[in-house]
Amino acid sequence: MTQISDLLLLAIVLVNFALLGATRLSTTIRAVAVQGGLLGLLPLVLHGGPSLHAVGLAVGTVAIKGVILPRFLTWAIREAALRREVEPRIGFVGSLLLGVVAVAVAFAVAARLPLPPELARPLLVPVALATVMVGFIILTTRAKAVTLVVGYLVLENGIYLFGLTLTEQVPFLVEIGVLLDVFVGVFIMGIVVFHINRAFDSLDAEQLAQLTD
């Protein structure tokens, strides 16, 4: 079981790099969908086999993060007839280098964290922290509104991964609440993105800088 979970976690790290290097919006959305799916499979292999709690969580996560939200975002960019490039502010090589730094920092920090033995899983915490940081990199270096939504999803994925160390501590109801909140949040963001496009004829978040003092 540990081997499978390690493979899943490594795949999540690879998806992080795919996200940072992707040049097309549709690729980033597909990548975040894959990440959501991988995230959903993890509860099944962690904590020694599937329980009812783990299965419920897996189904909810795969459905929301792996299928519904990516489909909705794809719909939003198609309906809004966006230009399909990502247009980062610092270039793809720069983003990827930042990603490498993030992963290194995550492993260094995780090694020093005073984690209790029953929570310490060799890969889970560093991958979670790296994913949180990659989410922040996307949020701060991308200009388009849709990519900010993707960045927010990646950030949430990282936090969710950290939460998976605690499935016995965090009750099912709260996890479902978190999933639902993210779901509705991204849904409303998607609708706003759609309206922004109609109002400003562009989804460039830099156009959204007219309210100043």
């Binding site: 501590q169 909140d181 949040g185 978040a205």
Partner: protein, 478 residues
């Protein structure tokens, strides 16, 4: 049962309103829902129901105070909404009333949660319920405001979620007894929590919920959202929503205190509070948009709340009283700013002159609420700021108190020059008097009366609740 009903009644009313095609029908649901919620809340105060099994929902004086404030303001905003017509929106926003009620439900969940995971779900739900309210169909700028609000607050609250998980880790790492993330158990077994994890958790929770509360440096969404939203929504955001996030910060503070990390937590709050006051002072001066001016005043008062909490002792009591006073005054100002905007058609202070003469009721109330928010006697914010300052000198935060006074003086000058010009000022020629609708001035009049009465005398029951709430945060009453 009562606790669950407080959350479910607004949810059901929101559903009821959602299926009403006519505005009149939706308004009935809004008034009945908020009224029933207020009645249930009164019953809850008198009965003091036990915690729901599992300890997830419970009623304590601190949560009760926040919920009472939210309830009072929601009822006020609901009556104002009856007379308020949103400009340029032919369908008058069908989801408007449902979203108001959904916000009330989410705020109730926040106030009653004694499970920190559930608290997080509630605070995120308040963001989502209010985001559609900010959008106005005819104004592309409001889209920008909604977008910033959603992105900045969602990212901030995501940090708070990480902080919540850290707190759960602190419980496991400290190997303490008690149910995971249940507030009362965290406090009871606080001494055993793992110190480093508690400190990390508090930092993330304070910055995360602080973002939603409007504390600098992550306050950037606030002036846009408050400035662009329709009047009743601005009032609700500044008076009720910010305090829900403040409650989140206070819950984290309670746990940090119990874990013996108060000495770490207090300077964090003092720093965030002082920075917020400074930012507000810089942006209030020469600010011509009066709604943004009010928004920066919200940043200022949230900063004062954080400062009072960080000082502790009597200042903690003052901070809770100030939460009530400043929020009510701010809600009144935003509602009246809506009346002024409707009459003059401009958000710029220099376009607005002679409000007192053209609309006497709104004008006089506007001046009174301005005096209240700037801490003039005999209104309640004067009493609360006095308590905070006294507490500051008692606990050896004299420098902090002087800085707070100086920055507040700057804000006073900035607000005063704009608002007095608007209220008095020379009347434009041949400007007719405006007939004021009762619905639009009733709630502000009642709320200003509340500010005045509380400033003169705090009822014994309220005083008991304030002292008990301050006590649960390590503070003392007068």
């Amino acid at each position: 049962m009562l606790l669950v009903a407080l959350i479910l009644v607004p949810v059901l009313a929101a559903l009821g309103a959602a299926f009403q095609p006519r505005r009149a029908g939706r308004l009935v649901w809004l008034l009945v829902g908020t009224g029933l919620h207020a009645a249930l809340l009164v019953a809850t105060w008198t009965i003091g129901p036990p915690a729901v099994p599992g300890g997830w929902l419970a009623f304590d004086p601190l949560g009760g105070l926040v919920l009472s404030l939210v309830s009072l303001l929601t009822v006020g905003v609901a009556t104002y909404t009856v007379g308020f017509v949103r400009p340029g929106d032919p369908r008058a926003g069908r989801a408007f009333e449902s979203c108001l009620l959904a916000f009330l439900a989410a705020a109730s969940l926040v106030a009653l949660s004694h499970h920190l995971g559930l608290l997080w779900v509630g605070i995120e739900a308040t963001t989502l319920a209010t985001a559609p309210l900010i959008y106005q169909r005819d104004d592309p700028h409001s889209l920008e405001a909604v977008w910033k609000y959603l992105v900045v607050c969602s990212v901030g609250i995501a940090l708070a979620l990480l902080g919540t998980f850290f707190l759960a880790t602190a419980q496991v790492a400290g190997a303490v007894a008690g149910r995971p993330l249940v507030l009362d158990d965290l406090i009871q077994h606080g001494a055993g929590l793992h110190g480093a994890w508690v400190r990390a958790a508090f930092l993330f929770l304070a910055v995360g919920f602080g973002t939603k509360m409007g504390l600098a440096p992550l306050h950037t969404w606030l002036p846009d959202a408050h400035g662009e939203a329709p009047a009743p929504v601005s009032a609700l955001l500044s008076g009720a929503l910010l305090n829900c996030a403040f409650l989140g910060v206070l819950r984290a503070f309670q746990v940090a205190n119990a874990a013996g990390e108060g000495d770490f937590a207090r300077p964090v709050l003092l720093g965030l509070g002082l920075l917020s006051l400074a930012v507000a002072a810089v942006f209030v001066v020469r600010q011509d948009n009066y709604k943004r001016l009010l928004a920066y005043s919200s940043v200022e008062h949230m900063g004062i709340l954080a400062l009072g909490t960080g000082m502790g002792g009597l200042a903690m009591y003052g901070s809770l009283l100030h939460m009530l006073g400043s929020s009510i005054a701010k809600a009144v100002l935003f509602l009246l700013a809506g009346n002024i905007l409707a009459a003059y058609g401009s958000k710029l202070a220099h376009d607005v002159r002679g409000v007192v003469r053209r609309m006497p009721i709104s004008g006089v109330l506007f001046v009174l609420a301005f005096l209240a928010i700037t801490g003039s006697p005999p209104f309640v914010p004067f009493m609360s700021e006095l308590a905070i300052l006294t507490g500051a000198f008692k606990s050896g935060h004299a420098v902090m108190a002087v800085a707070m006074l100086a920055l507040q003086a700057v804000v006073f000058v900035g607000m005063g020059s704009a608002f007095l010009g608007m209220s008095l000022g020379a009347l434009p020629e041949r400007a007719p008097r405006i007939r004021e609708r009762a619905w639009l001035v009733a709630a502000p009049a009642v709320l200003v009366t509340v500010l005045l009465v509380l400033g003169l005398h705090i009822p014994a029951a309220l005083q008991r609740a304030l002292v008990a709430a301050a006590g649960s945060l390590g503070g003392v009453g007068p």
